[in-house]
């Protein structure tokens, strides 16, 4: 599925975090000082994304999340073969002095984890929607995707969240 990049429009640049760093080839245009939100993905309120392609769903954290977290220095991932539950934690990232839980937007079985993140945790910062993916899951209930936000809704959600602080 071709991906189009949405810049989060009408955002107060001082509030939204800076510089989308997604590593995608042209013709995508990166807009400075906006978090990037991609078309074709679904999003949850704790700032994870999911890309559903056939029997597999890929999950990671959003550009908004990685920017707010800061430089990721360590990633904790589950073992393949385990289960994840919608809204439940499956791992954590360490950044600055904090560990932050990462939650699964959907339920299913973990079929692959991104082993590159062990040596290169910074991929989550530099390529949150690409090489920084975290787990691949076989969804057990694909209808859970319907309750997630699309790109426009998620953009608005981020704007409102940042404006509230």
């Amino acid at each position: 599925m071709a991906l189009r990049m949405w810049a989060s429009s009408t955002v107060n640049a001082l509030r939204i975090s800076c510089c989308a760093k997604a590593s995608f080839a042209p013709p995508f245009v990166l807009t400075r000082c906006f978090s990037s939100v991609l078309d074709g993905l679904k999003y949850d309120a704790s700032h994870e994304w999911v890309k559903h392609e056939g029997p597999v769903a890929t999950i990671g954290i959003t550009d908004h999340a990685q920017d707010h977290l800061g430089e990721v220095v360590f990633v904790e991932l589950p073992e393949p073969g385990g289960s994840v539950a919608k809204g439940g934690g499956f791992g954590a990232v360490e950044s600055v002095k904090a560990t932050s839980d990462v939650n699964s937007p959907i339920s299913g079985k973990v079929i692959e984890v991104n082993s590159k993140l062990t040596e290169s945790p910074g991929l989550i910062n530099s390529s949150p929607y690409g090489d920084g993916w975290m787990i691949k899951v076989k969804p057990s209930n694909p209808s859970e995707l319907d309750s997630l936000m699309g790109p426009k809704e998620y953009t608005k959600f981020c704007e409102e969240e940042d404006a509230a602080h």
């Binding site: 904790e76 950044s95 600055v96 002095k97 904090a98 932050s100 839980d101």
Partner: protein, 271 residues
Amino acid sequence: MTVTQARNVVPPLMNILKFKGLPILQQLHLEERLFRSSSDNWCIINDGTNAPTIVMGVSGKPSELLELKPVLQDKVPVVGRFTGGGTVIVDPGTIFVTFICNKDAVPNVEPYPRPIMSWSGLIYEDVFRGIGDFHLRENDYVFGNRKFGGNAQSISKKRWIHHTSFLWDYDIRNMAYLKVPRRAPEYRSARSHVEFVCHMKDYLSIPDFIGRTVKVVGTHFSLRPMQFEEVNIHAKTSFDHSSRLLTDTELEAALVSQKSLYREDTGSSQV
């Protein structure tokens, strides 16, 4: 005044627990249990831990962070904690202050590391007002450019914990167990441990520090003193902790790894 406005004026409730000499592993177990299984806000103050103990952050590797030969020789316990951040050696001269908060209890603070750190900096600016040149510098509490407080956090969907170890006093000899970390704040400027840190006791007494801290926290929260025995009413009684004591086997394996890394770096077999 509307109901909503009235509600906003009432500060959120925070339970406050005070200890003296609680072993650090026990403190970490309590904190993790409250963080994960309680829905209350908590402030925990521990005046000193019972024995010198090394405490590493969640991703800490002993082979990179510790001088393992003396650690093993002197049988210094090494604990891996559930929060992020660096390595400290704590002892009876360390004072611990911990905040465990529902994110909705501090709604102006986004549940991310830097806003939480900034919020804590504001709290302690008030605590140390008129005492020394206090700052939050990068992620440390300093007087001038010398660190006296180190921080670590863990953040979940709805809650966060921010805990601090304050160097009220410390034994210089214990610093020899720690390597200068590869990842260090810029303001450290490659200084040794001894040149980088300072004693809080040079600035104020323990009762004064604890009194000031409780007073300032009491301006943000409605404090409810609690005894340890009451904690079980507010949190699960059994809990699978991730903070743990590292075994001698693990430390010895790390020493082997440290020696081989040293050989690779220097061509020498001596550590």
